[in-house]
């Protein structure tokens, strides 16, 4: 996987990057459920999870929380009600 500088990405590019990584970890999650001792798949799962966390952190630092209910911190003032929400253009 190429090393991307997530700080350089636009909001739309970041969201796409998060979607791609979330899809990858779900796929590997399902594979590992039935192949729990496959080390290569496990390494890829962990690698993508780290990348996913990085992209989410960059997104949330720049554009506000991706989720509410305590899954992401908010700076002042309360960011969740600030447009746009993650699913909005």
């Amino acid at each position: 996987m190429q090393e991307l500088d997530y700080e350089e990405l636009s909001r739309e590019e970041l969201k796409l990057q998060i979607q791609e990584l979330e899809f990858a970890v779900i796929e590997l999650n399902l594979f590992l459920d039935t192949h729990p001792t496959n080390q290569k798949a496990l390494m890829d799962y962990n690698m993508f999870s780290i990348e996913l966390n990085k992209t989410k952190n960059v997104y949330q630092k720049k554009y506000g929380p991706l989720t509410n209910f305590g899954y992401a911190l908010s700076s002042y003032p309360w960011k969740w009600v600030e447009s746009p929400w993650p699913w909005e253009e």
Binding site: L21, F23, E27, L28
Partner: protein
Amino acid sequence: MSELNKEMVYEDLETEHIRLPKVYVVNQPYIDRFPLPEALKKGTIFPNLYDPYMAKMVKNKC
């Protein structure tokens, strides 16, 4: 189905030498991954599971 009925069914099968259906799946090897943008579009990250439905292919088989 009651226990009595079940026994009757299995006895019938045995005398007729008919086997019950069995399901199996082949173990999926971890060989390769699609690049992530491609995986998201194709709906799977695994090339060995990528098998989209194509009307053309079905026609050829008929």
